[in-house]
């Protein structure tokens, strides 16, 4: 893969893999600023490592808010993450802490 994965990109991938599918949730999990997370997401989307789709209307209506945008890893994204894990050993240790929190702290 020609794409170079920075540590921050790897963190974003790791967060998505850990079940954080929304922009702001990814920020919470990675402690990165929105001005960092979003361009990373755009790039990953552009290069086919993540797929973006809209949350189903029904879910959003039930919670009385507009639908959010969800990001999911593609197969290429999974592969890149595996590569990133090999490169950044610390990621593996971080991963368990990124899991979805059901309620905000």
């Amino acid at each position: 893969m020609a794409l170079t994965l920075t540590y921050q990109t790897a963190l974003v991938l790791e967060a998505i893999a850990a079940g954080r599918h929304h922009g702001f949730d990814i920020m919470d999990a990675t402690d990165l600023a929105s001005g960092t997370v979003y361009p990373i997401l755009r790039r990953l989307d552009h290069e086919g490592l993540v797929r973006a789709r809209w949350e189903r209307e029904a879910v959003a209506r039930r919670e009385q808010r507009p639908p959010r945008r969800c990001y999911e890893l593609t197969a290429a994204g999974e592969a890149s993450l595996a590569e990133a894990r090999a490169r950044y050993r610390a990621l593996v240790k971080l991963a368990p802490h990124m899991g979805r929190r059901l309620k905000p702290a």
Binding site: F24, G35, P104
Partner: protein, 890 residues
């Protein structure tokens, strides 16, 4: 309350930033950001303690939308520009189909040739070999310390000593090539190339077998089981690739049963070629264990036909191994001065051995391919420039409207990349075709070239070549055309003069064409001179059948009787003028050369090379069949039988070498042939015959009657009346009429055999000549293109001249003059470059020097004439200019 305010502010920020996002993506972008902000605010709502910190967080997050929007905008423009450039490029190329077709073709020729040659280099030097750690696998050869001729087969005695003495190797083995007779019911008897190998052979290779196993230690002992391994090719082609063949027994040779214990892996191109005989030695199909060395083998240091293969011990370099072999050779020379005084040992890495004679030629071919590619690029650059001049207005307008220079350069590069990509695809087809031809014409000793696939590796090579070509061809025109001065074009309504650049490109093309044409010319002259060499015999209307006697004819008398019967039958065929047979057939497919020391009674013994002569047994009318002249004395006749006194003929060269001007007739000579001592009287002197190749000198040769030797192999030589019906099949039938199981090693016309030794020169000639022709063609179109463009640009000027009274003659001279000036500069530049370069060809030349003036002058004149012809069409077109029309236009 506080959170409400913060949320409103954050939403407002996002709404403002949304302006930055390209309209197509704006709505989605806003929805995403708003949804996230609202979701976050909703989660914070019920919390009791809302601090300024959580509110600030919301606002700072919304500010992150700025870099996000900026990123999207940038990407959007990049994508749009790229798409636009490509679309525009395609449109422009389709608008000028003639230009596009020519540029495509030129690119295809350049890229195809470069890809083919680069693939050859890749196959020879980069592609992995089918052995483990190939860099450690060595071949060891004899070389002649006096003449420096190397890569010679190894005498059994020397090979056995090498294997026992050398310490540089962790494993070393010998291979003894031989042939099997193979009889399948209902098929003509055939032979199989086989090899006996010693114990560590498979350790040296280090590759696991495909099926079954390799030989067991006890199978290498004398009297061990009869076992064979099949090569992958034999297993697949004759046994249908059936793995169950392992463990079965097959009948080979005289009907003996051999157990098949294994199948070799594919891709093991293990052919051994010595440099002395650049002939196609067939791929080994059957492998057998060498069951011990016998007495005669360890004593045989003259008849060299074995090969040695070894794996370096870890930490030992090739040079160290070579140094050890130098020491061993010196020891052997001291122990056996009679035979080994001049024999050295040469350690050659397997890869280098497989590259073979192409190692000298490949750099030249790569150079030629690079020159061809450069000329192709110059040609396309020229075409792009010419077209660019027509598009001057387009560029000027785009520049005036604010297109940056980078943008224009990129546009031009995209167009040349499009051309190169399409040309490259076409080039791959061309490369496939070229590789097929190369595989067919290849010199015999380069097995790696047989099937070079067009695969991912070739595609990578082609891509690299294509991108390089696109950049080279595109950069000059794009920089030229995008010059800010192009704005002037708007005002003048005419392209500015770019003649100097285009002229320079033509000079380069002509010079490159001259360099290649001179190289090819030298090869052509060498080839013609080589073909004109008199081999000492007449090659027309002669058929040659070479055979190794079947094991049933196990004694010399049986062989003598059998071969005499065959000769009698052949001699009785209609149309046969003379029929004979010989043990060492000049240019024969199987090289059987018996060489040994010759002692002359009453003369001091010569030493070293001077004491050696070819010893050859002949039968029937051999000399008449070959038309080798009798210079003195008599030929053999029916009175020379096994029972009569021993007699020999000597070649003129032998007479000079051993008798130094004295008359050899009546002298007594002593030598050994096929293990037997001979003490014979010289009864005649015959003409010299070349044996190995037309460009190798004759050697001293002594002939004895076959009836006095009964050697195990013989080649029939049959001269037929021109246009007679006796063909090869009729000759084979005579042999099979006597023994239907006798296999025939090779049947061919003598001309074909000679032609085969010219394979190497012919290959070089074809490839370099092909490149030269292609370059010449491109250079010619280059001259033509520039001249027709320049005349069309100068139509106005010509109109004025004609109006002022210039004659047709004047106009033609004007155009021709301009073209010839460019060609002249090109020729001079080419000669200056070619003079030092042709020296690289020296090892390939025969009978001409690298600076052969005839070739240089001839090629220069030819090139100028071709350039003149290329100028002629534009010149006549200039004549058709109607002055009134031209002056009225614009």
């Amino acid at each position: 309350m506080m959170s409400r305010f913060a949320l409103r502010l954050a939403l407002r920020i996002v709404r403002a930033v949304a302006v930055l996002v390209p309209a197509a993506a704006r709505a989605d972008w806003r929805r995403e950001w708003e949804a996230e902000l609202l979701y976050r605010a909703a989660q914070l709502e019920p919390a009791p303690h809302l601090t300024w910190r959580t509110n600030m967080d919301l606002i700072s997050r919304s500010l992150g939308s700025v870099p996000d929007a900026a990123w999207i905008r940038r990407q959007f423009t990049l994508d749009a520009d790229a798409v636009h450039d490509v679309a525009h490029g395609v449109r422009m190329l389709l608008k000028t189909p003639g230009f596009t077709a020519i540029a495509l073709l030129v690119f295809a020729i350049g890229i195809g040739a470069a890809t083919a040659i680069a693939s050859v280099a890749d196959a020879l030097f980069m592609r992995p070999l089918a052995v483990r750690q190939p860099a450690r696998v060595m071949t060891v050869w004899q070389y002649n310390r006096e003449t420096g001729v190397g890569r010679l087969d190894v005498a059994p005695g020397n090979a056995i000593d090498w294997l026992t003495r050398a310490r540089s190797f962790e494993a070393a083995a010998m291979a003894e090539p031989f042939t099997f007779n193979l009889n399948f019911a209902g098929r003509e008897p055939d032979y199989l190339a086989a090899a006996r190998v010693s114990e560590q052979f498979f350790t040296v290779l280090g590759t696991p077998v495909l099926h079954g196993r390799t030989f067991l230690p006890e199978e290498y002992r004398r009297g061990g089981a009869r076992v064979v391994m099949f090569s992958h090719a034999l297993w697949r082609n004759r046994f249908g690739g059936d793995p169950s063949i392992v463990g079965t027994s097959v009948r080979l040779d005289a009907g003996d049963a051999y157990t098949v214990v294994g199948v070799m892996p594919p891709g093991l191109e293990l052919r051994f070629f010595s440099d002395s005989a650049r002939l196609r030695r067939p791929e080994t199909l059957v492998w057998m264990p060498k069951q011990g060395f016998d007495e005669a083998e360890s004593k045989n240091r003259a008849g060299a036909f074995w090969n040695v293969l070894a794996r370096l011990r870890p930490g030992v370099s090739v040079d160290e191994a070579q140094a050890e072999f130098d020491v061993i050779s010196t020891q052997l020379a001291r122990e056996h001065p009679q035979t080994n005084a001049r024999i050295g040992a040469e350690v050659v890495p397997l890869r280098a051995h497989l590259v073979g004679s192409l190692r000298d030629v490949l750099p030249l071919l790569l150079g030629a391919a690079a020159i061809l590619l450069t000329v192709a690029c110059a040609n396309v650059a020229n075409l792009l420039l010419a077209r660019g001049a027509m598009r001057g207005r387009e560029f000027a307008v785009r520049q005036a409207l604010g297109a940056s220079r980078v943008r224009l350069v990129r546009q031009m590069l995209v167009e040349s990349l499009l051309l190169a990509a399409a040309g490259g695809a076409l080039g791959l087809v061309l490369a496939r075709w070229l590789l097929d031809i190369i595989g067919r014409l290849r010199p015999a000793d380069i097995a790696l070239l047989d099937h070079i696939p067009i695969d991912a590796r070739a595609a990578v090579i082609a891509c690299g070549v294509t991108i390089a070509a696109a950049l080279i061809a595109g950069l000059t025109p794009s920089l030229q055309l995008s010059r800010p001065a192009a704005v002037n074009v708007l005002r003048e309504g005419r392209a500015g003069s770019r003649r100097s650049v285009r002229g320079a490109l033509v000079v380069v093309e002509v010079a490159a064409a001259l360099v290649l044409a001179v190289g090819a010319g030298l090869l052509v002259r060498s080839f013609m001179l080589m073909q004109r060499v008199d081999p000492g015999f007449s090659r027309d209307d002669v058929s040659v059948l070479q055979l190794f006697v079947s094991p049933r004819l196990d004694t010399p008398p049986k062989r003598i009787v059998f071969f005499q019967q065959v000769l009698d039958r052949i001699g009785a065929l209609p149309g046969v003028v003379a029929a004979g047979a010989v043990t060492s057939m000049p240019f024969g497919e199987a090289r059987v050369i018996v060489r040994g020391p010759l002692a002359i009674a009453g003369r001091p013994p010569a030493s070293g090379e001077e004491a050696l002569a070819y010893t050859t047994a002949v039968s029937g009318d051999y000399f008449r069949a070959m038309e080798v002249p009798l210079l003195a004395g008599r030929l053999f006749d029916a009175t020379d039988t096994a029972a009569s006194r021993q007699v020999v003929l000597v070649s003129r060269r032998a007479a000079q070498q051993f008798w130094q001007g004295a008359d050899p007739l009546g002298s007594k000579v002593r030598f050994r042939f096929s293990g037997k001592p001979f003490d014979a009287e010289v009864v005649g002197v015959v003409g010299d015959v070349r044996h190995e190749a037309l460009n190798r000198p004759e050697a001293a040769e002594v002939f004895l009657p076959y009836s006095q030797s009964g050697f195990h192999t013989l080649a029939f030589v049959v001269r037929t009346a021109p246009g007679s019906p006796a063909n090869l099949q009729a000759l084979k039938d005579q042999i099979w009429a006597l023994d239907p199981l006798q296999s025939i090693y090779d049947a061919a016309r003598l001309e074909q055999l000679i032609s085969k030794t010219l394979v190497g020169p012919r290959f070089n000639l074809f490839v370099l000549g092909g490149f030269a022709l292609a370059t010449l063609l491109l250079a010619t179109t280059g001259v033509y293109g520039v001249m027709s463009f320049s005349t069309s640009q100068r139509a106005r000027e010509f109109g004025v001249r004609v109006a002022l009274g210039a004659t047709r003659h004047d106009i033609v001279r004007l155009v021709l003059g301009e073209g010839l000036k460019l060609a002249g500069f090109g020729v001079i530049a080419g000669i200056v470059v070619a003079l030092p370069l042709t020296r690289l060809l020296r090892s390939l030349l025969f009978g001409v020097t690298a600076t052969d003036p005839v070739t240089f002058v001839f090629v220069s004149i030819a090139l100028v004439l071709v350039a003149a012809a290329a100028c002629f069409v534009p010149a006549t077109r200039a004549l058709s200019v109607n002055p009134v029309e031209v002056l009225r236009a614009d």
